[in-house]
């Protein structure tokens, strides 16, 4: 497909488990963003990649959160030792370049529920 895809769409984890969330950006898009969206709230920035370089990870809430994009395309967000407060929708977005006023295209998100 032409859009951003994410997998899995839904993930249920027991507290303490590790999870990995995948994002496939639009082909050729240089920039990739991860956002966290709590119920009834707007997306909150987690981290940003330009190609394979992670240029900003200031939004990651703790050192349990880790993101990578080793080949500059697919990205994985990993959460170690999940906690209940990690329950949220994790959105991935990509843009074809970086700069002011460049559209970010969002994927459908992964809904993570930690029991």
């Amino acid at each position: 497909g032409a859009g951003v895809s994410q997998s899995p769409r839904y993930k249920v984890a027991k507290r303490g488990q590790d999870v990995a969330l995948r994002c496939d950006p639009i082909s050729g898009h240089v920039s990739l963003f991860w956002y966290q969206q709590a119920l009834g709230q707007g997306p909150e920035f987690l981290t940003y990649f330009q190609n394979e370089a992670q240029l900003d990870k200031s939004g990651l809430p703790s050192d349990r959160f880790f993101a990578e994009r080793p080949e500059g395309s697919v990205s994985t967000l990993k959460i170690q030792r999940t906690q209940q407060e990690d329950s949220a929708v994790y959105l991935c977005a990509s843009s074809f370049t970086m700069g002011v006023g460049i559209e970010q295209f969002f994927g459908p998100g992964t809904r993570l529920t930690v029991l």
Partner: protein
């Protein structure tokens, strides 16, 4: 600092107009508007840039008041498909990561 959106929710009948506002206490480089339906991805609507340039859809218009650091989204002759939650995302950086800081959203319901 999160931008403030108003109203929080609005109900319209088909054909009516609506305005959604987004205010910031910090200087903005650009404002991005998205619509999100339940369980779906946010869909890009429009970008407004400092200096007046706009990019977006033909049937939706918006304004950006640089002095007041405010943006307004204008929805005219609303259709049932306009229902959803509208988010403004603000770019404070002008350089760097271009992350967006989103408001809490405005829930729009269009009824027949």
């Amino acid at each position: 600092q999160q931008p403030v959106q108003s109203p929080q929710a609005v109900i319209l009948r088909e054909g009516e107009d609506a305005v959604i506002n987004c205010s910031s206490s910090k200087a903005l480089y650009s404002v991005h508007w998205y619509r999100q339906k339940h369980g779906e991805a946010p869909v890009f609507l429009m970008i407004l840039l400092k200096g007046g340039e706009q990019k977006g859809h033909e049937k939706i218009s918006a304004s950006f008041n640089e002095k007041k650091q405010q943006s307004s989204l204008y929805l005219t002759a609303s259709q049932l498909s306009y229902s959803g939650t509208y988010f403004c995302g603000t770019d404070y950086s002008g350089a760097g990561s271009y992350q967006l800081t989103f408001g809490k959203g405005t829930k729009l319901s269009v009824i027949p």
